[in-house]
Each structure stands twice: as C-alpha cells, then as structure tokens.
Amino acid sequence: MKDFVFNSIGQSLQRNEDERLITGKGRFTDDFSLPEQTWAWMVRSTHPHAWIKSIDTSAAMQMPGVLAVFTGKDCLNDQLNPIEHNPVPSTQYDVKLRGPNDSDIFLGYHHLLPFDKVRHVGQALAMVVARTRNEAFSAAQMVIVQYEELPTVMNSELAIKSDAPIVWDELPSNVLVDATFGDIQATEKAFEAAEHIVCFKSHVSRVTGVTMEPRACLGHYDPKTDRYTLFAGSGGAVRQKSELAKVLGVEADRLRVISHDVGGNFGTRNRAYVEFGLVLWASKKLGFPVKHRADRTESFLSDYQGRDLVTEVQLALNAKGKFLALKVDNLSNVGYCCVSLSPLSKGSGLVTGSYDIATATLRSRAVFTNTMATQAYRSSGRPEVTFAIERVIDRAARVLGIDRLELRRLNLVQTHQMPYTNAIGSSYDSGEYEENMNRILELSDWSNLDQRRQEAHARGKLLGAGFANYVESSIGSPKERAEIIVHPTQIEVIIGTQPAGQGHETSFAQVAADLLGVEFNRVFITLGDTDIVTAGGGTHSGRSLRHASAVIALAVEDLRALGVRHAAHFFNCKPEDVLYENGHFKSISSVNSVSWFDLSIQLANGEGPQSSLKELRVLRDNEMHTPVYPNGACVCEIEIDPETGGVDIKRYSAVDDVGRCINPLIVHGQTHGGIAQGVGQALWEECYLDQTSGQPIACSLMDYGMPRFDNLPSFKTEIVEVLSPTNPFGIKAGGEGGTTPALAVVMSAVEDALWPVCGPVDFDLPATPQKIWNALQRGKAH
C-alpha cells in the first residue's frame, strides 16, 4: 500500500446500490419478463422416502393453458446430467474430509427430476408448464403420483446406526464422510493425565436462510444463436453457468447467466437449483421462455437448509484450569444428497476456537437422511463449533469453580503467538484476542451486571449474561478475476463476486478509486452477467473483499503500466520518462499532467498509440489460498420471565476484528444482520420435522419464528482493525462475525439466568419459552 492515498477507504460512504433499491428500480429475478413467457409449477413429493411407481399427467395435460408436464423420465430421455456440486472444498487449506476408511466420498446424485425414488418431502418430481402461473398451479394439483413408501430416517444419530434405512443403495450405510484429524496418541496421553474432563453434547438445530426474495429463475433458449439465457439470483453466476452447462450437456459459452440484484443469499443461493436447469431445458423444448418463482412454502421445503450438526466435545484441564487437550466428534446431516461439505470442513479447522490447546483430535462425519439437502449458511460451520467450545468452557468454569472470564483469559491464544497454528493445523494469521475481551467487557458494562441482576430480580425477572469469544475462518474460492476499463468519464471494474446486499458496488469502488487516484463517484462496478463477467469465485465465506481488493490491486498495476505507455504517446516521450502519481501522469520534462480520463478521451478521439494498445483496459487473474481469521467477542444480556419462560434481550454488544475496514457503515450493517441470524437460531428458528412421519411442520412464517423489529434490541458494535499480513490491504472479513458467536452467547446467557434454579441447561436450540419454562419446573421440583 505504498504510494497512494486513502481518500475513500475507511470512510462510511453511502452506497451506490441504494438509489435504485429505494426507488423501486431494483432488478430482482422476478422483475424480468420476456415476451411470450410461460410459467412452471413444480409437483413435489409428499413422502420422505418412496419409489415413484407412476406419475399420471393425463388430467393435468387437459387443464387450461397447459403446454407440457415433464417428469424424471423425460429428463433421462433427453440425457440431462445431474448437477455436479463439487461439495468437497478444494482449496489448499480446507480440512481434507474423506469417506469411511479413507475412501472417496460418495455424494449421491442430484438429478433435476428423479426417475426412481423420492428421498425427501418437497423433492420436485414433475414440472408443469402453462401460460400463466395460476394455470400451472391448477394443473399441478391434477398430477397423480403413485408412491410405494420406503422406511425413512430423518435424524442423523439414527441414520448412522447399522440398522438404519439406507438412503442411497450405492453405499453400505448412510455415512459418506468419516475422517479423523489431529494427534490421537498425544491427545489420549493428555486426557489420561488430566485433573478434570468436562463434556458437552448438543444437537445444533437445522435452520433455513429465509432470504426475503424467494428463489426464482427465468430460462430462455434462442434457436437463432443456439444460446440459453438464465436469469436467476445466485451466489456466483460464473459457477452456475459452468454447472448448468454441464447439466444440459452443452459448452459453457452456450449459456449466459444473469444475476443482478439478489434478495439475500446467506449461503442458500450458493448452489444451483433443479428449477434453473429445468426452465432452461423446457424453454428449448417448448420454444417459449419459462419462468419459475418459488412460494415461501416451497422455499421452506426446498431451499438448501443450514446447520444440523450433532457435536460432542470433551475438554481436558489441569487443576489450575489450563486446557490440556480436546476431543471432538461432529456429525453433519447433509440431507438426501451431498451439496456442500463446507460447514463440516470449515468447522473442523476451528474446533479449538480462540484458545491455545496443545493437542486435539476431531472425528468429522457426515450422514445422509431423508431430509432436504443442507449446505453453507451464514458462517458455515463456525457458529456450530464456536457453540461447542464456548459452552464446554462455561461448564468447565462451573466444575472447577473458576470465573468463566478468567478461565478464558488463562487459555486465550496470545497476541505474541501469532501467527498461531492450532492443534488441527489451522494457522491463525493475526488477532489480539485479549484486547477484544477487555474491550467487550467495557462496551457491555459487564462490571455492573450484579447490580442489574438484583434490580431485575426485584421485578421478578431472571437476568442472564452470556459471553463468547470467537475466531472464524475466511477461505473461499481461491481464484478471482478483475477487468478494468477506463471510459471517458468513468472507470469500470468488472469483478466475479456476487453480492446480495453486502455493498460490493460501493466498497470495491472505494478500493479501486483510491488505487487509481480518482474520486469515488468516478468508479462503477459491473457484476453478475456472465457475458461480461467471464470468471470469478462468487461470494461466500467472507471471501469477496479480500479477493477482489487483491486482484483489483494487481489489475491496477497492469493498468498503470498500460497507462504509462499511453501517456508516453500523449507527451511524445519515452515510457521511462513518464511519472505517475495519484491518478495523474506527467513526463519529467513537462509541467502538465493528464488523468486517466484525459487518456481515455484521447483514445476515443482516435489519437491513441498506433500499436496494439487499442483500449485502456486490462484483465487480471489472481489466486490466493491463504485463509484469514476474523475474530472477536460478544456479550448478550437477557431477562427471563419465569412465569412464561419468555426471553427479552436487553443488550447485545459485539467487538469484531475484521482487519482493514473499507466501509464502517457497511461492516456494522453486516454485523447487525449476522447477529440477528444467530439470535434467530438461538431463540426462534427451526426447520421442525415430525420425527415419525418425516413431515416438515415449519413450512411457513406461521410456524418458523423470525427475528423481527420488536424482538431484537439495538446493538452496540465496535470494529477492530488488526491488519492481516496475508493480503495487500490487510483485510480479513466482516460478513459473518456477527453470527459466529451468537448461538453460544445467547445460550450462555440463558444458562446464566437459569443456573440458580436449574443448574445446567438440558435442552437444545432454540431456547423457546416452552423449553425454558419446562426447565424451570424441573429445577423447582428438585
């Protein structure tokens, strides 16, 4: 960051995106329509596991407006391929998961429509296409499916048993991943010598993204160009283009994917949906564009879901409370087919959390069940493992009679130990964990807790304060591409990330503007159309700003070199005699300087150099594998009404080390939203399944509780900037730190409130009033 000035970077600039979004000019997928477009409606399985004996489409075909009804057999006949999700994270530093006995991982097959069996309630097994959406809906109700029911298994702990119903016949069991990491011998030794062993087990619940924009897609085939176009919100248009092209069996350049405005992602949109392939295929078969928009119920049933991890952790300590070793067993429920193993993998690398633990072993398993597929969801895997380590530490503090903050301080990774390699092999790049703790205790007014506790007690309420440290990892797809084009009055940066509210059009422009030495409002960012964006890693895992800034910085270097040659032509001097400073070029012998825009105008006027330098335009690829480790601490203060078990969140404070912060306004917003999603899972959200029938019950907002205006407090959030040595700007990531400790901190608060009456909390997330009240009754009975 040698020779340019930070004018935009670090400023809380208002967003470029906002103008269109606040005036109703956003471009979400369903906002696009094509002439003569038709509508699809999916017929979905009502059984969790069954043979498809027959699908009778005759009545449906008679309904008004119907053009076709497609089934899995039709997909087979047209040789459509299943979607290849590449679920095993492939970056250098992701933890290497393997199948049982070090085998390759069997993933199941994600066909667009199944031809043999259905494997979860809500699985699409036929598609009706009609002139209007209502007509497609009416006809879909007339499709008659005959099922032959099969035994089912929904719960992961039941699915690993040897007598469990098998989801995929290709496997002898439902276990697709079974890998052990760490030093088994050393860990066993440490456990044998330990004074105390404290255990904690929990089933971290299954939740779903509930993006406010339900998923939608519009597919169009143009016979004149033999090309397909797909409008669909995604987490990366480039990835979905290559995956869907393979499904259709065409070259990738035959398909254009357009993701403009995306109404929330959080992980749910990181993988392609079957409807995307189906509408493309159907549009060619029928000769009309085909559109699909999911209902909210459909989204609840068939959006990729999140979490669902059974975690069992044992912590070995000496008499003074030093953490000696850790044993962890994580069991991930991937659902009916494997779409992503990122949660299990990312979590695996962080099981020791923010603490210096000399040795650890971890067994990571993944299992198939008759449920919807799960994949990455806000901070993929990290809230789960943070929950496990922070909760076992809370328990250890009680067992040993040591203050829970002191116990943490005693064992924190110290600043001087950075970069720190944990017992699983993850190398934390930078961070000042004890500083975070000190800061959060001030921010949350921890020292006056007892006073507030007594005051709440006088009002008949149980006050509880939760504390959690966290460290999380941001790795993500290693490759990114940037193109920079200098137009006469604006500089365009084309990049392959895919925001869904994170403000890339603003923060990337801030970075580019400072790198280029121009005003912030002279830069605009182009995203999301694969005819323009030719490569890119998409957005997930907090990767975007780090990768984008790095590749943009490299592209700017290339552009400067190009600019120097253009300027040499302008000044009629040798390139070596051109000086560049802060967006302006001059020759050593001249007084005047020219800007990027002057050079571009010169080009536009046909006065450019005669050589192959036709445009002021560069394209640059970059690859970065080194992860970064955002970190922080948070405190949550609640009051429980013992009469109802109701929870009122009084305060929520967070300190987050995001590395260099490009736009504080945006980062605080990310923290707020991340907190809300974590608190939501801790208190209200659950993809509730009836265990006997396999039926999902929470299929609408009537049954799936959400964070709302009136059940969340305002937050106190603070940004810390410990620059990361791993990338030119020192950026870590700011998108997921709000969620990572939230599950732990809320449950920690609940337990703190209930402990005098009930002792340890004996229920899993979400901490509903019903569960809290039950616990209080049990506690009072003893």
Binding site: F137, D641, T644, G645, G646, V647, M706, Q770
Partner: protein, 271 residues
C-alpha cells in the same frame, strides 16, 4: 389460486341473493384469512361476495349498556374510536393488538368472529364481555355462537350484521403471542359484570374459545390476583402442538388471568 368470480355486494339483500345463486360462494370481508388460504389452494370458492362496501355494515354505536360494532368495521376503527375507548378501553386495546398494522386496516370483527380461529382475540373479547350477534336472520347469544374450532352457529349464507357487546364494570385482556404466527398462544379476557366475573380463554382450548369456570368461581369469591394462586387448570382439553404443550398452556392461562386482573382497563402483551 384457483379461478373465482368476484361480486361487490351493495346491500345485505344483494349479498344474500348472490350467495343463494352461487355454486359455492364465500363471503369476503377483510380477506386476511380467506385470501391466504385461497392462495395456498386450500379453499376454492366459486364466487367471492365482498361485504366490505355495504354501508349498513359499517359503524360503531355505544349505548349505556352495549358497544354495537357493525360487522365490517375494521380493527383500526375500533381501536381508535373514542366512544369505545371510554366505554370499554380494554376492547379498543384488544382490537389494536390484532395482527399487524396492515392487518388492522383490513380485518373486521365480523370476519374474525365468523371464522372462529382458535387463537383469535375478538372471540375472547366477545365471549368475555357477553352479548349477542345480530345476523340477517336472527340473534345468537355469545354463549351459543362458538361451536368448535373454526365452527360457529352461523348457517350457510347467514351474515353477521352487528355485534352487540355488553359493557362490563371493568375488563382486562392479557396475551402471550406465539413467536412465529404472532397469534395469541394463549389470551385471557377477564370481565367484571353485574352477573359476576367472566373469564374467556383463547388459543388454548381444543374446541376454540371457552370460559374457564374455575377462574370465574375464584374471582367471584374474591376479585383479586391472590385468589387465583391455588387454582389448578386442567390441561386435559387443551391444545398440544409443536409450539406449546397443553401443560404449558394451562400455566399460561393462570399467569395471563393474573395479569389481566392486575391490569383491568387495559391490555397486557407479555413478551
């Protein structure tokens, strides 16, 4: 949504005629129960007869003994009506607590009572205060109106014209809302009347809204929160679902009754 035919009724008579001449009609008032159900394909009336434009079905009148609310009067109108606020402040507050702001601009008392959702607020208010429903055919007392969950004594085609609610000596309402649906997981309406205390419970009973006799007896003895302490509410006929057990609901009934008694004249919305 399946196809349907919409009719705007200009009078009660027209509404009734339209109903009789339709294959399978539903009356439309606020639409915030019927339209979502139609959108999900769970209801498919051949005809929709919109009652909300009928003038004689709008309006609020307060006499010395009763609050008379015409059936198409919206929750927002009841909540902000000064006469209702003066006569039965708890009733106005109850109307102001239903759903969310947009629901209150559309939802009507007639629609709410006719639907008899087991977790509705108005049903508890009506059964708690006592009174009668005046339809286009007859009058039905509050005690006879509610039959079972989603079922009332209304005959097919019978339209509620006005709801007559008896003005009590005092009344209070306390509710605890379910996290997702925001309906009352349990709501308890307590009214002190000339003929004794009435305690109406919504959200809990398997047959919908009902009067909890044990609490009425205790409060008739001594109208005080302390007299509720020893009462055991049976969970036997209470709803058990993914959101709350019958035991928990039984607990809530007592807790909410206590809060209502301690806050007569208003509404308590427990968090």
């Amino acid at each position: 949504m399946y196809p349907t035919k919409y009719h705007k009724a200009n009078s009660l008579q027209e509404a009734f005629e339209l109903y009789k001449s339709s294959q399978d009609a539903s009356f439309l008032s606020g639409g915030h129960t019927l339209l979502p159900v139609m959108k999900q394909g769970l209801a498919a009336p051949s005809d929709l007869i919109d009652l909300s434009f009928i003038d004689e079905l709008r309006g609020i009148e307060v006499t010395p003994q009763t609050v008379v609310i015409s059936s198409m009067t919206r929750h927002m109108e009841v909540a902000s009506n000064n006469d209702v606020i003066r006569a039965v402040p708890c009733l106005a507050a109850l109307a102001g607590s239903i759903g969310d702001r947009q629901v209150r601009f559309k939802g009507t008392i007639g629609g709410s009572l006719a639907n008899n959702d087991p977790a509705a607020d108005y049903t508890a208010g009506f059964l708690g205060l006592g009174g009668h429903v005046e339809t286009n055919l007859r009058s039905i007392a509050a005690e006879e109106f509610f039959v079972s969950m989603f079922q009332t004594a209304l005959k097919p085609g019978e339209i509620i014209k006005r709801v007559h609610l008896s003005i009590p000596k005092s009344a209070g309402y306390a509710k605890f809302r379910a996290a997702a649906a925001r309906y009352s997981m349990v709501g308890v309406f307590v009214a002190r009347t000339e003929l004794g205390t009435r305690v109406a419970v919504t959200g809990a009973g398997q047959s919908g809204v009902y009067r909890e006799k044990s609490l009425e007896a205790a409060l008739n003895q001594n109208f005080d929160a302390t007299s509720l302490e020893g009462i055991q509410i049976s969970s036997q006929d209470l709803i058990e679902d993914m959101h709350a057990s019958s035991l928990y609901r039984a607990n809530l009934i007592k807790v909410l009754a206590k809060h209502a008694v301690l806050n007569m004249g208003g509404i308590v919305n427990l968090k």
